[in-house]
Symmetry: C2
Subunit: 469 residues, 2 copies
């Protein structure tokens, strides 16, 4: 342990007594903390989340010590370039650009691996596991791609990987599913898992603005990356859903196999029509289990106004689960951002240092090759659903009968219809028509949409969205 | 272990293979489960919750085994009277009326103590701890009264007490506060913690019915006891708030010291006026921490419509917390009932059997005499708040000026006023007047109410309710 670092943290530890508001002149707590066992922790990667984690460990050692029953001592922070300015004010000897400093120090037992992307994140994680470290990570994309390899390695070596921060940021859904609700067979999990998409959709809905403009605002406010593709095309939500489906239902599924539609094609007109029908549109990640198997998909979905999921605003995330014993449970919180994510990472560091993570990891059904999957994935085409169709039709008699006919041929009946005045789209002679259906299989709905698009009275494409059951 | 019980459970274990839907003809899982280590569990008290717990352990051993990595074997169920009919279909040798059968069996390591009330629950819990058992309980009243004694005993003996089911039933708020959010300093916790009260208030609000009638419906539906006093007078919510305040803020507080008002004096007229002002009334348990200390109280409170807490219906519970890292997190679920409570008890049994509870219990700040409280409780009189006043006044000029004056003398300014036509109350010459104030200390608001009641133009008592900040 470096002298400067040691002194810096010792000073911070002495300052604990002052943080405790009602014994400002007492050294009792400080002495108590100093007498505590230390768990040495390292952070690899000092981006936004890494800086937040360092800040919690350094400035709030009192609370981590209180909850862990030991001092979580930030021994090393590994960065690519030591000269780059850092958000957190780090003791000098803590910073290093050499991963080997962590790998070679057997006293460092817990490492928060907070590098984004796939490589070198994957290789570093493997090296850390080989060196005997327990890992905490927020890198959901890495788990989505290389989870089986990384978890297999951890299991072989008797190590653990904690990943609360990888899904839904500040909502502790991983612990809630894998621990708090473990007496339940879950039958349903529905989530707004991508805050960027939800922010954009909320903007479009509230202000009636087009997609591109809402993306620009999201970028200005820091809610969207310069290239927001993964967030808005459903990839990010599908990666999170794959992890949750594995934990909650024992599904063995790659995110690539989850049918997904993003919000990037969403038209403000549909948000408006949905409102008229008493719905909101949300990018919903859905998992439903019944006798027929597990339904999984990510799609912009009409959610009835007044339901908690419909009222989730801005960059918030939310998850509604239903268990056979507990009934419905609803979680709402910030799904991303520096400190909400750091909160999840530090909770994982505490759990790992205390030993809880190891116990949980032993029975965790994630990326495990032991035993067959517990559920069958349902084919997308066979999934039941209600649908919202929007189309432009010639304003002439008999059109509705033809559309009803095309739906009827697929066994789909209509629940409600809105026909409006011309809205200035198309060639001026067409009117927008919105149809809500009763339940039908996804495949039938798709075939009906194709048939409707083929009608001479129908102008352009049919917009088709799922409606939450 | 009795032969009949053994056979019964062995048969149930063999049936596991059939529960796993995709290997119906394989004995692999069944063999795997049979080869697993067993943790022997006992239940003391076979009321509604006990029956639910037995049902989960016996009929869903597959999932508990999966999450615990071992079989949770229900070895004994202790009841007062063996001849009474039971809800759960128990193997014959499991049932006993002799607690000694559990105390004397060293193989039984985890006991769900599910007897209600204070005695003999307290003595039984002490005996179980002395006999080396780890305890799971749902008895919040017992913890509220005897928590310090029971926790001290458990700590001395190196045992643990798990109590997730004691607060908010199916919402795993204990684990979330003491584990998932442990990186945070919480600044606020607001909860609807009593489902009976919320059901009654929801009925009154929705149907405009008086309190007594709503209580009758709650009793018919099984949401209220024959004597609902503890639920409706704020006692139950205060007991839960005391536990949460201890965990979340390190407060050392007895529920008796938490100022509390119930819903038993609530008038449907106030629900109606609150609605006109854009609010709902909820029995809110509130904890706010700032530099001045910790604010704690339970009271019917006006909550702005549209806020998640305002929209909690029927017998649901909800808890909104704010942490300095995680930001706001909101939980919603069933706060009581057989299976939601059993879900929490069984999750605790799993955590205890696996060893997580022991690790958490070591650092748990509940009923601990080690160290001074971390926070100062604020005196009720000094608490800031906004208030709703409803009164009946003579319909004559100058009345409003006098009331404004009485409030002004206490430094309270008015935010809004509603004056209605006579509502048939009082002697027919008075009109109802509703005043919403800006922020003022509780003590000043109380003195203003007394002063207003003393005005000759004011008829009867002043109704005064808090408004959520």
């Amino acid at each position: 342990m470096g002298g400067a670092a040691g002194t810096g943290q010792a000073l911070r530890l002495q300052a604990f007594a002052q943080i405790f508001p009602f014994q400002p002149t007492s050294l009792r707590f400080s002495e108590r903390v100093k007498a505590m066992q230390k768990t040495k922790v390292a952070i690899v990667g000092m981006g936004t989340v890494g800086s937040g984690v360092a800040q919690l460990l350094l400035d709030h050692g009192d609370r981590t010590a209180r909850h862990a029953g030991r001092v979580l001592w930030l021994e090393k922070v590994v960065v690519r370039d030591k000269s780059k300015a850092r958000l957190a004010d780090l003791p000098e000897d803590v910073l290093t650009d050499n991963l080997q400093d962590v790998l070679d120090d057997p006293d460092i037992t817990v490492v928060a691996q907070l590098i984004g992307g796939l490589e070198p994140a994957r290789s570093i994680m493997l090296q850390l596991l080989e060196a005997g470290k327990d890992i905490v990570t927020a890198n959901k994309a890495l788990l989505a791609e290389h989870g089986p390899e990384l978890f297999e390695k951890a299991r072989q070596l008797g190590r653990s990987i904690a990943f609360e921060a990888s899904v839904a940021g500040g909502i502790p859904i991983i612990t809630n599913i894998s621990q708090c609700l473990s007496a339940n067979q879950l039958s349903s999990l529905e989530g707004i898992l991508n805050g960027t998409s939800n922010f954009i959709v909320t903007q479009m809905d509230r202000l009636g603005m087009p997609y591109d403009q809402a993306v620009k605002i999201a970028q200005e406010k820091g809610y969207a990356e310069a290239d927001p593709t993964m967030d808005v095309d459903g990839t990010d939500a599908a990666q999170k859903l794959a992890i949750l489906a594995h934990l909650a239902f024992g599904a063995h599924v790659s995110w690539r196999d989850i049918p997904r539609v993003g919000i990037d094609q969403l038209d403000p007109a549909d948000l408006q029509y949905a409102r008229e029908l008493g719905y909101r549109i949300k990018l919903l990640a859905t998992a439903h289990l019944d006798q027929a198997g597990l339904e999984l998909h990510v799609a912009p979905t009409l959610v009835r106004a007044g339901l908690p999921l419909a009222e989730v605003q801005d960059a918030f995330n939310a998850i509604a689960v239903v268990g056979d014993a507990v009934g419905p449970v609803f979680y709402h919180g910030l799904g991303a951002g520096q400190m909400p994510t750091a909160s999840a990472v530090v909770a994982d560091i505490i759990d790992t240092a205390v030993g809880r993570t190891k116990l949980t990891f032993q029975t965790l059904e994630l990326f495990s090759s032991a035993g067959p999957p517990r559920v069958r994935l349902r084919a997308f085409d066979e999934l039941p659903g209600r649908y919202y169709f929007r189309l432009h039709v010639a304003d002439s008699p008999g059109v509705l009968a033809k559309i009803t006919g095309a739906l009827g041929e697929q066994g789909i009946s209509i629940a409600s219809v809105i026909q409006h005045e011309p809205d200035g789209r198309g060639d001026g002679t067409t009117v927008p028509l919105v149809v809500m259906t009763h339940e039908a299989p996804e495949g039938a709905a798709g075939r009906a949409a194709t048939a409707i698009e083929g009608l001479p009275e129908v102008c352009g494409n049919v917009v088709r969205l799922r409606v939450k059951a």
